[in-house]
Every structure is written in C-alpha cells, then in structure tokens.
C-alpha cells in the first residue's frame, strides 16, 4: 500500500468541510471537491475562521496556519482527484448519488487510491458495490463537528481487503483521530444507540411520563451526561432527526428506530429546535454553537 500524502474530500457541506480541516491540520495536502462554487467559498471562509481561532487559543502558530491553508485547496473539477491517495466521500446520503460519484472517481484515481465513505446510515458494502474497487473501500464515519470530535467509526465492507482496512486505520491515526472498529451495520455504533434512545425519550413525553425539562434533568444527574436527550434533539433539529430515523428504520425495521409521531407534529408547527427558537425547549438565542 503506497504512502498517503494527498487526501481528497468529496462534498464540502458541514461534514466535508470539517473532515478537510482535520486532514489539512494533520499535514496532508487536501483537495476539497464540490460542484457548487458558493459552497467551496463558504467552506474556505469557515476554515480560515476556524484556524484563526486555533491561533487565538494558542493551539497553532500563525506560520503553521499559513502552511495548512496553503495545503487546503478547493476544486470544482473532480479530475483533480487523480493526485489523491485516499478519497473520503461526504456527499448527500443517497446511494445513487454516491455510486455515480465513485464510478467517476474509479476512472480518475490511480489503482492504489483508497476510497472511504463518511455515510452514517447507508451500508458500506452497498456503496462499495458501485465503486469499481470494493476491495479498497472502507467506512470512515466522523462525528459532527469533525474538526473538534476525535471519534471515527471504521467499518470494512464484505469485500474490503485486510490490507486496505489496515492502511485506512493507520491513515485515520495519522489524521490525529481515534478510530474504533465496527461491523458494517445500520447506524454503526453511535447512531445505533443514540437514535432509539432519543426516540424512547420522545415517547416518554408522548406517554406523559414527565416534561422534557424534567427528563433532561434526571438523565444528566443520574447518568452524568453532558446534555439531556431533548437538549441534544433541539440542537440536531427535528427535521434532521426525522431523516435519520427514516434511514435507520428503513434499514432495520426496529420499532425503537421509528420516528415518534410527535416529531412530525413539531415539524408541522415549526418547532424544529434551537434554530427556530423552539423545540422541546424555548430559546431566546437561535445561534448554533460555534457560529
């Protein structure tokens, strides 16, 4: 397996931009691809602002940031990924979209290039099946916000070679991240536990067990969690929660993964969470963290 020097990140939404920051910060030459010029420009601004904060907090020196930013390049030409030793895909959660992207990348990239997907709910084996190189394909699920969270859930597909998985694992460690190994199974570890837990909490409210604020207080105090389930759901947003539930439930048919009816009513009423000023709690300030 060749050394990894150049990293491609396909898709520069919130996750893609965060992953690109991680790769560039770790010293890799990093190309970020998106068809939308405005998304690339926005990600560039956010990256510059993030690294300016890192300097402010004494985590990086200004000259380090200059080198990192020089190594972090946006592009709207997928052909530029011919230089990449690894490509991490972070595009829309749609199997067809991902297959179309990887089919193109398979033609563009050299044979040694590893492919990885940041999918949170789609099977790695299914995505790999349309990539033209399912033996050199791994799941690398970063947490939001990727530039701050160390965890990466790594899963091999059914046809992933041991050598590819080991190379991806070493690359993840070289990124300064903390990899954990999980089976290619819906939701991997984190979402497999989190989504049903949050749904259970919503069902407690539906069942009239207690008010959201009382449930948050109880869970934080009893379990030492930093956030109660409703504080977390309000940050995630009911619209996003519904999408993740639908993906998880569609893949598993587990009753606890099914979105409780209250979520749809809250979406209809505009109670999406912190971003609309009201979810399970009411907010005076609708800014999201870090913004």
């Amino acid at each position: 397996m060749a050394d990894i020097r150049t990293v491609g990140v396909a898709g520069c939404g919130t996750m893609g931009a965060g992953i690109a920051i991680v790769a560039a910060r770790a010293g890799f030459r990093t190309l970020v691809y998106d068809t939308r010029a405005e998304a690339l420009a926005k990600a560039r601004k956010q990256s510059e602002a993030f690294f300016a904060k890192s300097v402010e907090r004494g985590k990086l020196k200004p000259e380090q940031v200059s080198a990192i930013l020089a190594n972090l390049v946006g592009t709207s030409k997928l052909g530029d990924f011919k230089a990449c030793d690894v490509v991490i895909e972070a595009v829309f959660e749609d199997l067809k979209v991902k297959h179309a992207l990887f089919a193109q990348l398979d033609k563009i990239c050299p044979a040694h290039t590893l492919f990885a997907s940041n999918t949170s709910t789609i099977s790695i084996t299914e995505i790999a099946g349309g990539s033209g190189r399912d033996d050199r394909f791994v799941g690398m699920h970063f947490c939001l916000p990727a530039q701050l969270m160390k965890l990466v859930e790594m899963s091999p597909g059914l046809n992933t070679s041991e050598a590819s998985f080991q190379a991806a694992w070493a690359f993840c460690q070289a990124l300064g991240q903390h990899p954990v190994k999980t089976k290619d199974s819906p939701g991997f570890i984190l979402n497999y536990f989190l989504i049903p837990f949050n749904n259970d909490a919503i069902r407690l409210v539906e069942a009239g067990v207690a008010e959201p604020a009382e449930i948050d207080k109880a869970i934080k105090d009893a379990m030492g969690y930093a956030m109660g389930p409703f504080e977390l759901l309000d940050l995630v947003g009911m619209d996003t929660h519904l999408l993740v539930c639908e993906a998880m439930h569609g893949a598993t048919h587990e009753p606890r993964a099914a979105c409780p009816p209250l979520v749809r009513r809250m979406i209809a009423a505009g109670h999406l969470g912190k971003k609309t000023g009201r979810g399970f709690h009411v907010y005076k300030d609708s800014k999201i963290f870090g913004a």
Partner: protein
C-alpha cells in the same frame, strides 16, 4: 421545612447517613417514609390527611400500589420517590418524585423542598413503571449487551464510541460491569413484566449473570 422520618429498614435510597435522614425532626408537616416496608410505615401515620405531604420510597412498583387508584382521578397528599441508583453503585443526587393526576400542589411543592434542602436534585414524574431514568436506560443497556453478542464491535470499542461520540462519562459495558449485570436483570425484568415491551426483556448476558449470582 420541618419533616419527620419513618425508617422501615434497608432503604435503597438512603443506605447510609445523609443530610436528609439526619435533618429529620421528631414531628413535622411532611413525613418521609423510607425502607422496604413503607406500607407498614404509611399505615402507622396518625391523621394522614392532615399532613402537608407524605413521601414514600418506591422500589420498581407504582405509587398507586400504596394509595389505590380510581378512574384516573387519583391523587392526594401522598407522593412516591426513589433516589436513582444503579445496582451496587452509590445512590446519585437524583430523586425522582412521583405524583398522580390529582396530587395536591402544596404537597408536591413541600416534598420537593425537603429533598432539595437536603442537597438533592428533584425530577418530577407521573406514576408509570420505571419512572424516568430506568424507563429510558434499560432498553439502551439491553441493546448494548445484545450488540456485544452479535459482534457489532468489541466491548472497549463500544464504550469508547459512546464516550468520545456523545461525551458519556462511561460506556454501557463498563457501566454494567461496575454496577452489576444481575442488578440490571432485576430491574429490566420488572419493567418487562410491567410494560410488556420486548426492549425491556433482559439481555442474555444479564440473564447469565443473574443465574450465576
């Protein structure tokens, strides 16, 4: 707020001396009944209806077992409580205070104040099986044990994922090992019987631990 204490022995909420047990007066408008035989403690209270509040310690049973229920309109000056505690671990600061549909508002406020004055956190909930925390975490703990059997990930990787990904102080497997798998079986089994929901059916590893206990 002056309160008196009736200790019927072997309290899970207050196994050792605590500000709440030590701060009790000989008599008071609020009566706190702790221990495993609160029915006897409750029966011994003279002129119950004249008390501002009577708070009885609950196990996995509902408050209605002690007060009786009627057409969804039950409620009086008698409340239930349990200080949350996982198996063999020390009790937490959390007190789940159990009310009924028509619980007297003054009784609720007085009971809450007694616990808060003793340095405890109070979460109010209705009288349903498992209250808040057990109702929420038992399916999660069962799922973790099942997924370990299914080989989703190693115990360490599952624990690490939940700690790093969600900021939990401890992963589910380490938590169960620390507090006791057999104790998890007991609570999960009681909730499974009360709710009839398969998510509460104790996971195989908890059943094995119970059989070996």
């Amino acid at each position: 707020m002056p309160y008196s204490l009736i200790d019927t022995g072997k309290s899970r909420s207050f196994p050792a001396a605590h500000a709440l047990t030590q701060g009790a007066a000989a008599a008071g408008d609020v009566v706190v009944v702790i221990g495993t035989d609160v029915a006897r403690g409750l029966a011994g209270i003279q002129e119950r209806e004249k008390k501002t509040a009577i708070v009885v310690e609950l196990g996995t049973e509902c408050l209605g077992v002690h007060t009786g229920e009627s057409r969804g309109t039950e409620g009086s000056n008698v409340l239930g409580f349990a200080r949350f505690r996982l198996g063999a671990a020390e009790p937490t600061k959390l007190v789940e205070l159990v009310r009924q549909p028509n619980t007297d508002a003054a009784a609720l406020a007085a009971a809450k104040k007694v616990f808060e004055d003793a340095g405890l956190t109070v979460a109010v909930c209705n009288d349903l099986p498992g209250r808040i925390v057990d109702r929420l975490i038992r399916p999660y703990l069962n799922a973790a044990l099942r997924r370990l059997d299914e080989g989703l990930a190693s115990a360490d990787d599952m624990d690490t994922t939940l700690k790093l990904g969600l900021g939990y102080p401890e992963g589910p497997i380490a938590l169960l090992e620390r507090t006791g798998l057999a104790a998890h079986f007991d609570v999960a089994q009681a909730l499974y019987e009360a709710l009839g929901d398969a998510a509460y059916a104790p996971a195989r590893r908890a059943r094995v631990a119970k059989l070996r206990a």
